[in-house]
């Protein structure tokens, strides 16, 4: 089942990237996708874990839009720090509680923290992330807690 899924994904990727739809080119695409799947199968790299996207179909895109807004704000703040004559840096390494239940949710939260400039996930531990902030204010932890709450809300467990 996973083999067929991987094959279909590879063929679709070929069709999207090549853009030439003559029988020979498409045939070559199908052949190379088949070869790749065969090699992966021989290497025994296809695990039997089910692919679970435990995300809310509507909640997650909404979260992404909210995240884009946060990225814009954070970028502006860091740009002002970089271009300021006296760079107002207040570095701090602190811990943030993690409430996501799935691995995917935690990955999304950690990547979201890193994606907003100004905060970077430095270390992941079971219950908490260590986060480094370049311009630390007392409100920074509050913002990250808000992000944590939103990621947990977009999770469908």
């Amino acid at each position: 089942m996973r083999i067929i899924g991987a094959f279909v994904v590879l063929v679709v990727l070929w069709l999207l990237l090549s853009g030439i739809y003559t029988p020979m080119i498409v045939g070559l695409g199908v052949a190379s996708a088949g070869l790749a799947v065969l090699v992966v199968r021989r290497m025994d790299l296809v695990d039997s874990d089910p692919v679970e996207l435990a995300l809310k179909p509507l909640g997650f895109p909404l979260y992404l839009f909210w995240l884009l807004g946060e990225i814009a704000k954070a970028n502006w703040a860091v740009t002002r720090i970089i271009l300021a004559a006296q760079m107002p840096i207040r570095q701090h390494l602190f811990a943030v509680q993690v409430t996501q239940k799935t691995d995917l949710g935690q990955v999304i939260f950690a990547n979201s923290i890193t994606l907003t400039p100004g905060t970077i996930t430095v270390e992941t531990e079971p219950e908490r992330f260590l986060v480094h902030a370049v311009a630390y204010t007392p409100g920074t932890i509050g913002e990250l807690t808000e992000m944590d709450r939103r990621v947990s809300a977009a999770e469908a467990v």
Binding site: L17, I82, H92, L93, F94, T114, L115, T124, L130
Partner: protein, 135 residues
């Protein structure tokens, strides 16, 4: 040129130039900021704002073609791998013993129970899994 085409042209102009501006600011920051930990954040500016704005501007420029699909594939890939690579660099620096200089008035960094000889390996395992899952 119709009004819609004009708006599209102007909008993509603004997006591409502002994206290039943010990419330049990020590179400037890595050159200017005083130490490694703050430079991480400057690189993050190029990875997020510069990349997103440039890709969006080029998408508008090319309209609804296969080129847009390729741009979106590149965009999604960079959107996921950019922060993962930054996290990997930061994590490697932390494990190797590099510590940020805390600002005055702030309590020193949180203790690191996992960086001792025995724990470092299990922790590295988790990082690698996360990387594989994100990619």
């Amino acid at each position: 040129m119709s009004t819609a085409a004009l708006i599209q042209e102007v909008l993509s102009w603004v997006l591409v130039v502002s994206g290039a501006f943010f990419a330049l600011v990020g590179a400037f920051g890595t050159w200017r900021l005083p130490d490694f930990w703050s430079r991480l954040h400057a690189a993050s500016v190029t990875d997020s704002a510069g990349m997103i704005l440039l890709i969006a501007g080029m998408c508008l420029q090319s309209g609804l073609t296969l080129v847009t699909v390729k741009l979106i594939v590149i965009g999604i890939f960079l959107f996921i791998t950019g922060p993962t690579a930054t996290h990997a660099v930061a994590n490697a620096a932390l494990v190797s013993g590099l510590r940020p200089r805390e600002a005055e008035g702030l309590i020193a960094a949180e203790p690191e129970p996992l960086t001792v000889a025995g724990g470092a390996e299990g922790d590295a395992e988790g990082t690698r899994k996360e990387t594989a899952g994100a990619a």
